[in-house]
Amino acid sequence: MLSRTADHLYWMARYIERAENVARMLDVNYRMSMVPQADGNLDAGWGATLSIIGLEDAFREKHEAPTMEAVLDFMVFDASNATSILSCLRMARENAHAVRGTITSEMWETTNDTWLKMRDYPRWKLAGSEIGEFFEWVKFRSHLSRGVTLGTMLRDEAFHFTRMGTFLERADATARFIDVKYHMLVEGSAPPDAAVDYYQWSALLRSVSAFEVYRKVYRDMITPVKVAELLILNDQMPRSLRTSLIEVYENLRAVSNHRTQETERRAGELQASLKFGRIEDVFARGLHEYLTQFIVRVNDLGNRISDDFLVPMTSN
């Protein structure tokens, strides 16, 4: 298929997944803000959300304190912020528009409809009790979009590039989720409070739809190490790093060509390190360092995929 077409498909999927992850990230903060905690911690949570996506500086240019209202406005509706949900859904739609001849009409209609609704979404709704409903809506549009992809798309190259985009984006996002929450939860200065701890950990799990999963897998109380193990190494947990890398690797292999040996090798190596890794070793090395390294390797894969198959990012 055309390199440009593959590029649009890959980015379409990445932007949809990104919109979902931004919604999840904001949602978990919103949930945590309802747990009673010391004053000042509230804004710290919103500030941490911005730093995990590397947008603290951009935010400070427009706003002062990271209050809930300011962060939501910046991360949901701000068209000048390329990572806002509005921007992600617009970019997803523009990429889909450019390849509407390649994707199924259901996929196009879903993406277009999501964008039209987002564009016209009334801002006042985010000030009140309907905020949770909005995040649900974004997540479900993303579910729908993946469902339509799985349910209607021919299992050809177009499909593999779309899936690759989804899972590379997810690997990156889940790693950042764990990193920031782990920082806040474990390395925070507040004195341990069993009740707050429980709610915060369960909020993190819920943010990646893993609360019930955790119970099923461990049948045990919630501990940081087990949460990290579930979200990093578990191959049955659909948003874990391991599952994401399995998908990236399999889809990459399905489209391999004579130029891609090294990219495949690196994806395989990263996947194998998750397969054979132990959570004790991860913690011994330092979770933050581990995750930082992981994010660098995922970005490297993204760049290599662009160079091997797509429209190289350097030419953009």
Binding site: M1, L2, S3, R4, T5, A6, E94, H97, A98, V99, R100, G101, T102, S105, W108, E109, N112, D113, L116, E157, F161, V255, N257, H258, F309, L310
Partner: protein, 473 residues
């Protein structure tokens, strides 16, 4: 002003009676509650928006898209009438292709004195690069979108031949899909000839004109990109034919062949259905500032290693100054009398014609030979005395640049408007495909001028579309 009673109404006769082929529809309309139709019209709007059947409007904020209004009253043409129309279209397109071949080869028609040489050689649409180039099957205009209007019973006139990159066929197909979705019950009352196989027919035609020796040709649709006003149609046709939709940046020339950049490396392309004007096709040969084309494409084309549909240089045959000669072309190349009418055209460069035009400016439509889109046009019956006088001076100063035609009374078809159902002027654009044979699906795009009294059916100026029904019996 036009005389309303003299306008041919597609549904009703002059005495108010319903024409036979509309009787079933009229009955259905009277039996169907208005709320039902109102609901269906709203549904159509919603679906068109969701599906994104839109066109971009130039000059507005980039990426802005509008719907082309869709009218739910079909334009119905009886089988017998279509049969005559179709035969006339075949004849006309066949002669136009022979003319193009002749222009770019021996120019017999000039030698025979049927057409003045300077009319061709000084025409801005004439491409000297094409002189002596052989194209597969001698076909130049693979896709023609001939604009036809009706002035009276069985009386069709060709307005324009549109041999460059005619658009609108996707609306023909989507309008049908929409009508079948909204009013399936109508299709059991009427035997409407299907049009859905158009993309198949187009693909067959394109494959048939591949360079000689290519057994399994690769076809691609070349678009200027997602911001072009007709991008929806480009994507739609590529998808329906199952071929790649490419932009100039996806293609490159190497070793006198054309390739596209794919995830598996370069792949040869044999046939390009291009939706880009000649000027933008190849920056090395035509406009050097074009970012839309492919450097070196003309060279590959002249070497016969790729087929372009339509060919380069077809504009010389659909120009306003050439239009008056089409009936003579039909006689010259086919030895037949034309089946379809040309609008009588006065060529001001001829002395007698000029005298007639100057004496009848208040009745005629005067056009610049190279003008387009209604620019530089005088509509005599609607112009003021001053406008007529100033135009008179311009014509006298440069008679060769003007033609004049009588004002046609375009037929009207009942259409939903704010006040209910009222007649509005329409035209028809059937799409004629030339490959091994000449083919067309029974139908075309009916455009309707939604403003009362308006004769302008262009979508950029408030025109809408209707489903066109050719009846099978």
């Amino acid at each position: 002003m036009e005389n309303v009673s003299s306008i041919y109404n597609e549904m009703n006769g002059a005495d108010g009676s319903v024409r036979d082929h509309y009787a079933g529809y009229r009955k259905w309309l009277s039996e169907t509650p208005p709320e039902h139709i109102a609901r269906k019209r709203a549904e159509a709007d919603l679906v068109f928006h969701r599906v994104g059947i839109t066109f971009a409007v130039y000059g507005e904020e980039s990426g802005k898209e509008r719907l082309i209004p869709f009218d739910v009253v079909p334009r119905i043409i009886p089988a017998q009438e279509w049969k005559k129309l179709a035969a006339g279209l075949r004849q006309r397109v066949k002669a136009l292709n022979m003319f193009l071949h002749d222009v770019y080869h021996d120019q017999d028609i000039i030698k025979a004195g049927k057409l003045p040489e300077e009319q061709i050689l000084s025409n801005s649409q004439y491409r000297p690069e094409m002189q002596g180039v052989d194209v597969p099957g001698g076909i130049y205009a693979h896709i023609a979108g001939v604009d036809v209007v009706r002035a009276g019973e069985g009386e069709f006139y060709v307005l324009e031949d549109n041999l460059r990159v005619p658009s609108g066929v996707s609306y023909m197909l989507e309008d049908r899909r929409m009508m079948m979705r909204l009013f399936p019950e109508l299709f059991s009352r009427y035997r409407v000839a299907p049009v859905e196989h158009y993309p198949d027919m187009l693909l067959t035609n394109l494959r048939a004109v591949a360079p000689t020796g290519i057994v399994d040709p690769t076809v691609a649709v070349l678009t200027p990109g997602a911001y072009n006003s007709a991008y929806f149609e480009h994507a739609f046709l590529a998808q329906q034919m199952g071929v790649e939709l490419v932009e100039g940046q996806d293609l490159f020339v190497s070793d006198e062949h054309l390739y596209m950049r794919t995830t598996q490396g370069p792949q040869r392309v044999d046939v390009i259905y291009r939706r880009i004007d000649d000027d933008f096709l190849d920056p090395l040969a035509f406009r050097p500032d074009s970012m839309l084309g492919v450097p070196g494409l003309l060279q590959v084309y002249r070497a016969g290693h790729v087929t372009l549909a339509n060919a380069i240089g077809t504009g010389v045959a659909d120009d306003k100054s050439i239009y008056p000669y089409v009936p003579d072309m039909i006689r010259f190349y086919l030895g037949e009398e034309p089946l379809l009418n040309n609008v009588p055209t006065y060529m001001c460069r001829k002395k007698d014609d000029l005298a007639y035009v100057l004496a009848h400016l208040d009745e005629l439509v005067v056009k610049e030979t190279h003008g387009a889109g209604g620019y530089g046009m005088l509509i005599g019956p609607r112009a003021s005395r001053d406008e007529i006088e100033s135009f008179r001076q311009r014509i006298i100063a440069a008679p060769g640049q003007y033609i004049a035609q009588p004002t046609l009374a375009l037929s009207a078809c009942p259409t939903f408007v704010d006040e209910g159902i009222a007649p509005r002027h329409i035209d028809l654009r059937p799409f004629v495909l030339s490959g091994k044979d000449i083919n067309m699906v029974p139908g075309g795009l009916t455009r309707v001028a939604l403003r009362e009294g308006s004769l302008v059916v262009n979508s950029s100026q408030g025109g809408g579309t209707k489903d066109t029904w050719i009846l099978e019996v």
